[in-house]
Amino acid sequence: MKQEMKFIVNGEHHAVQVETHRTLLEVLRETLGLTGSKEMCNKGDCGGCSVIMDGKLVLSCLTLAIEAQAKEITTIEGLADGNVLHPIQQAFVDHGAIQCGYCSPGFIIAAKAIIDKTPNPTIDEIKEGISNHVCRCTGYVQIVEAIDAAAKNMGGSR
């Protein structure tokens, strides 16, 4: 059953026809071509599909696309300014926090959510903020360092 859906993604307005059994992750990736958010477990167990919806960090693989109606969504593609990296993205690159890169969009979006809510997060707050995420390559150490450095670098600005 198809329904019309209007929503804003990375500042752009979209109007698409979606079947009601499609998830937000599928529509972002397949209808809008925003393949940065990843299908890593597809069940909410890994954080790889994380996006920010109306200011809240959510799992797009467990969100029906139709329920993003009228909402504002930020995906990984919405962070950089053209080809200039967002400070969080730059920190991940500078600190070696990206290896295979498959989990990285999820972590970077989660980092944005952490810093948006708490501009000066403690290490414990950073760890709590990425507790839904699984990484198999980095062992998490450089990811935490990157988020900590990004928050300090952003000095309270968003």
Partner: protein, 785 residues
Amino acid sequence: MSNDRFYEFEKTTLIGKDLPRVGSVDKAMGRARYAGDMVLPGMLYGKTLRSPHAHARIKSIDTSKAEKIIGVKAVVTGIHDTPRGGVFGIIPHTRDHILLPYDKVRYMGEEVAAVAAVDEDTAEEAIEAIKVEYEPLPFVLTWQDAMKEGAPLVHDHRPQNMAAHYLVNEGDVDAALRNSDYVWENEFTCDVASHALPEPFTVVCDYEPSGKFNFWMQTQCPFQVRQGLHNTMKAPSSDIRLHSLPMGGAHGGRSDTPPAALIAGLLSRKAARPVQIKFSREEVEDCMRDKAAKVWKMKVGFKKDGTITGRDIYMLLEAGAYASSAIVELWVPLLIDEVLWRAPNYRYDAFLIYTNKTISSMMRTRAHVGPMAMDVCLDQVSEVLGIDPIELRLKNAMLTNEITPSKSVITSSALSESIVMAAEKSGYKEKRGKLSHLKRGIGIGSGNMQSMFYMGFRAGSTAFIKFNDDGSCTVFTGNCDLGQGNQTMYKQVTAEVLGIDMEQVKVCFGDTELCYQDPGDYSMSALVISAHAIKKAAEDANRRLLEVAGDILDVSWEEVEMRDKKYYVRFRLGKGRGVSIGEVCRTAFKRGKPIFGFGDYRARIDYSDFGVDIKEPYNEKTYGQKVTAYSFGTTVVEIEVDAETGKVKVLDIWAANDCGTVLNPMLVKGNMHGQLSFMLGQGLLEKNVWDSKTGSKLTSDFRTYKVPTVNETPNIECYFMNKPDPYTPYGAKEGSLGFGCGLHGALSNAIYDAVGVRVYDVPFTPDSLLKLIKEKEAGEKKSSK
């Protein structure tokens, strides 16, 4: 021997620097295109029908209904479409995997048929419409059941379900043990472990009408996969192209030719359209690869003074349903085990056993049982003989230039130094035996890894460098970048040799059409083999560049040097004329002799002294240089045990890494953290469970298969021994596996230090530890009465 025997950092500009990973920017932006992100015009979506039985004969398959569904463009089955006689397996004499079977299925989830349709919903509908008639057969899920008298055979031609046997017997172990002052004996096990890779397996195949298959898929060894497809699809290698692309993790789990690749090829050819097959998470965990469960029984003889007299090892490991690449798991523990602790008399008797389970394969942590067994042994024996555990280790640790029982030379080892370093940095001696009142403990464990073992003509790499008219260049290498930093390393080495900026170097990796063949990122060969070939290619190119520059400057090439990215005459007073590399390249083009670099490096593996005919590369008569380089390392771990629940909290890890020269410390540290995470997960958290009635795997996602998250990660301090190897590029060795393979031994020893119980079976889950703690308490209560 290479000129850079003892690498001097002062001469370099890039070696030893913290350089960001190449490719990180694309990944940070979400713009890196993985196989699952690809869309090709007219692309179809493939789905696979899988066996609901752990063991069954396939009697018939009826696809007629599926083929009539609108939108279904191709249906393939083993019975109708698998080329007969095509078999996959890493080693010829254990090749047994028909990728899309036509006779029997051997594990639950094995492929039986597949469809390609215009969308996934249609493909799923078509799968539901295929009718298969099976004759279920009895199955075996454990090695114990598989080896019983009269057990059902997974492969009819392998009695007792034995896939292979490997024996090394050096000296006289039985006499040595008989004459020892003390013989230690114990048994260790480790569970089946899963890679739980971030990117679920995805393959895209685009078949060209001319007969060529184009593949995009995650693989560590594109040339091996190409050979596997060549064998099973019966197509020439030149008609099979594996394209290069970023991949979401490998960690050993992408070393084989997966059935899905053959299936995608058959579907694309039949449908005459590109086909993409994406696995679900559960599909990956059930139907791709796991790491074998192992049993390690060992006896070690000691003299009173702590010297080891002999070691007698019996090892058994589960192959799963096919030998595939699990066969390598049979001899790799030998390559690792025989290098750590000296033993003049040595027996290693190993068996590979079939079971009706997910196929076993490589994994970055596979070496751990052997090192763990020795580390627990050394701790236990140090108590019995009254010798300090560090002294006991240093007495028996093998050294540079020593020869192993199977006659391999250790060209560089800082194992002893790593033991001392890890013990010192952690305060091991001050803490050990003193923290149990807090239920805390400290433990030490050492490990190692081999780089590049015997792989016949594949144990070598050829690199080619092509130069552009502006002086920039592209390096072509058959190896891959799985995310750990290989591309960065290749650029770094090339730029270092040529004296140019890294930005001037591009890497084309892992494309089987454009690159020369290479072992792939297999047996840690990226540095020791592939980077070595690239370095030679860069040196070859450098010589050509210097010659043309010399012509331009009217001096011989030996008088030319690179300064500030330009060529000048060496020692000439005043600045003189500087020639850019672009000018050199353009001049070379004009002369009809374009600049290029060509380098080949063959692994230093040599059995020729022993006159062995390599048809079966690993049998009891195979002696000689088995491995190109060995890396080592030691970890010390401090833990806290909740003695009421058995849960272990890891507080700190100190890791001393003998990886030779460290090319890029920031990247190697990241790789070290990843290895420790894998080891911790498998040591304390990860457990795989099968339903014994149905043969179904019950732990197929991140929630049930408990991989570590950030909150299970302790403080980690990394240290480098910086002892160069004489044969490797810049003296560097692999740095992301070997050092960490001792962590399970360290954990076992730390648990003993904290709560006085010995653990021998990995994983050390809370319930298993609590049981041992309670048994100890009950025993103490009894004896105090």
